[in-house]
Subunit: 168 residues, 2 copies
DNA sequence: AGAATATAGCTTCCAGGGAAGATATATCCT
DNA sequence: AGGATATATCTTCCCTGGAAGCTATATTCT
């Protein structure tokens, strides 16, 4: 009997007219996500990074050399608003991990780029980050992990590809 | 090919030395959780509530008549600090949905209680909230939903019951 | 009883993100 | 060409929560 099951039990007593079945899946999903985030942040912090900052450096690193992207692109990739991205880049620039310069092709645009220090930091942090995720996932049997990924992929598609992939 | 798969592909190109398999499950879990939160908040907002406020009212409602709990209890139930709870209760008190009075048995303690307006609001909101969760979950086949709950229960136990249930 | 410690809640300060608007540049249309 | 609209980013203000410390009350121990 876990925390979520206790909550469901209380609702069943207080509101027997309502079906609280779905809260079992959704409640546990949120709690698992929260615990995972907490554990992942421990590794980020060892490198002096907050979660959002790690995300930005990772998005730049994934872009490949010369490790550059526009702020708007970064915002879209990391699911935050451009206002939040401005502040993240401010902090990373302050820390000497990225630079910001005007775009050559578009006077409105800026280019955010990893510095050498930023590249080295994210490469080291990412290696440990993935090892950390591996350890966390090892709590599940491999079959369960596969099945979980399949089901989540299905569910995610409902939110992110609601009318089918564009026909290319 | 969803967003998470694209990210994995980019990492595979840039960092072929690292196994990015676990990011498939963990990344999708976080994204699904984020989308669910967004959808759930839409219902809360229809009742003028933020997520945290809904959680507090729900915790009070689940307690059963007379719908009272100590702030510290509420904080533990909803996984926030007592400082955050003080401010949530401030807002709910301001809105006339809860009252706050000194505890009779412990001079240090306070008792937070639903008002009639608070009780009516959370009962109406909870009914719609569960219908909303049901709709969201209906995107999955019933078998998948069951399997998902089972796997998440296993995983959650690793975080919340690390050394086994207390022997009662 | 009286001192030391523990507990409950609150206050203060700070960090992070969202929303809306401001600014500068680009593009489109006549 | 020139005005209207669109786009990219930044700025400002606000909301929420965390961390640490404060105050009042309880409890424990001598």
């Amino acid at each position: 009997m876990d925390h979520v099951a206790r909550i469901q039990q209380e609702w069943a007593r207080e509101r027997p007219d309502v079906d609280v079945g779905p809260a079992g899946v959704i409640g546990r999903l949120h709690r698992v996500a929260g615990h995972l985030t907490e554990r992942l942040c421990l590794v980020y912090r060892r490198f002096g990074l907050a979660e959002g900052e790690f995300d930005v450096l990772a998005a730049l690193r994934r872009a490949g050399a010369p490790y550059e992207r526009a702020p708007g692109e970064l915002a879209a990739h990391t699911m935050v608003t451009t206002g939040a991205m401005t502040k993240r880049v401010d902090r990373l620039e302050q820390a000497g991990l990225v630079t910001r310069r005007p775009s050559e092709s578009d006077g409105r645009g800026r280019v955010v780029a990893l510095t050498t220090a930023g590249l080295e930091l994210i490469d080291a942090a990412f290696t440990e980050h993935m090892a950390n995720e591996r350890r966390l996932l090892d709590a599940l049997a491999p079959d369960d992990a596969d099945r979980l990924e399949t089901i989540l992929t299905t569910w995610l598609a409902v939110f992110e590809l609601p009318v089918g992939e564009p026909p290319a």
